[in-house]
Amino acid sequence: MVQNHDLSGFQAEVSGFSGPFDLLCYLVENRQLDAAGISVGQAVRIYGAYLANTRRVSVAVISEFLVLAASLVLNKIRSLLPGKTAVQEDGPCGTEEESRDEFDVEEKLSRYRPYRKASAFLWNKKEKQDLVFSRPSSGDEGQTWDLGDLYGLCSLWWDILEEKRGSGSSAKSTWMDREDNWEGMPVPLPDEEQIDMKISEIMGILKNSPAVSFSKLLGNSRSVSVFVVTLLSLLEMSRMGRIRIVQEELFRDVLIYSI
């Protein structure tokens, strides 16, 4: 086991293993670990001193480490090793907590084990795949554009809108405050209601056709208000899992599919 640290926190590297659970499984399954021989106090003291000496590890990292050290080394390993009866011999006061910890670790490991096998399955696929080569992507094709984080996109949009609202009164008066520019949308109507109406409209269109383009939804009206309401409606519908939004190429039309 190799320990090192950097500015962003303490890091433990376990060569040949994907993580502590992987190592734990291996040690437990191969009976290479004797829990009785582990001094938890000593282990915590040594690592605590090491972390303190680095002077670059946050209190949160140290506390997390202590929790992990205590739970992993003491409860988890002891409860996984054969001889559970010995643990119960400690007396009635500790039995309930220990059996809960035992259940917790066993549950976590039984949940983890299939992924360990899945990892091995993928590793084998990768090794086989490493024997074949294909034409490298030229860069000007195969680029994918993903709407990705809809929350982020929405936040960004509102930030831009706020910025636009705050920047200069001339711009503000030209398109934000002029009611007649919000064509197709009754101005006193709350935003949520406008979006609800638009969602109903889009769902109506998608009932008759499996897909519709974004430009078709906008129709001849290219006003900012219609664009905003349509975009927000699509984002909301996508969030609700009612539609799938696809743009196959940059600058191509966006297609909306009903799910």
């Binding site: 433990a12 084990r113 299939p114 899945a118 993928l122």
Partner: protein
């Protein structure tokens, strides 16, 4: 020299498919081939299968591979040694993955869309850096935010993940129940020897962020 002619089993359509896949830099879906060649999808699929069979039968150095929902031309496995020596192809083209990275990918692949904390809960270790590195290499992508406290980011695997592991789609992965029935991981035997080794330059590194 081997000359491929129509009489040996490759049709004009097959030759066109071969030519398209030769110039393509990413897997081409059968539907796209059908559209380009103005053929019904069923005919196109049959032609792809015939071309695939033809290339394998004639011992071609390049073969067809179905991956990430499309088809692409790849080199034959037995030519790997020669190809990897050619202008450091192996170094420039192959993505090296650590065990931690593969395990993280496995958890994401089977649970997508999934949050980082869910991955960490299953793996029992912090995965922030591994996930960041997998994101930067395009193996996973952000797929929105989960509803709830903090609205954590959700992650999904990408087509590059499928290509890297030679998978046609996520559904090709065996179920977790099927995996449970499999024998222990084959590399288990070699763990003892590997425990002292340190590998460099892998995505995700060997370890994780220990909490």
């Amino acid at each position: 020299m081997c000359s491929y002619t129509a009489s040996e089993g490759i049709s004009d359509t097959g030759r066109k498919i071969q030519a398209i896949l030769f110039v393509a830099g990413s897997p081409v879906p059968a539907a796209e081939l059908a559209e380009v060649l103005s053929l019904p999808p069923s005919v196109t699929s049959k032609e792809i299968s015939r071309l695939d069979e033809f290339l394998r039968r004639t011992g071609s150095g390049v073969l067809l591979q179905e991956t990430a929902g499309g088809w692409r031309m790849v080199t034959a496995e037995d030519t790997a040694d020669a190809v990897s020596l050619f202008r450091d192809t192996a170094q420039t083209q192959k993505i090296r993955l650590s065990r931690a990275a593969v395990e993280t990918l496995a958890v994401i692949a089977y649970n997508q869309p999934v949050t980082r904390s869910e991955v960490e809960d299953i793996r029992g270790v912090r995965c922030e850096r591994v996930i960041e590195t997998l994101l930067s290499h395009g193996m996973i992508r952000i797929a929105g935010r989960k509803k709830g406290t903090g609205s954590p980011l959700l992650y999904r695997t990408t087509d590059l993940f499928l290509e890297t592991f030679g998978l046609i789609s996520i559904s090709e992965l065996p179920t977790l129940e099927e995996l449970q029935e499999l024998a222990p991981p084959p590399e288990e035997k070699n763990r003892k020897g590997a425990a002292g080794e340190t590998e460099q330059g892998h995505i995700g590194g060997e370890g994780d962020d220990l909490p």
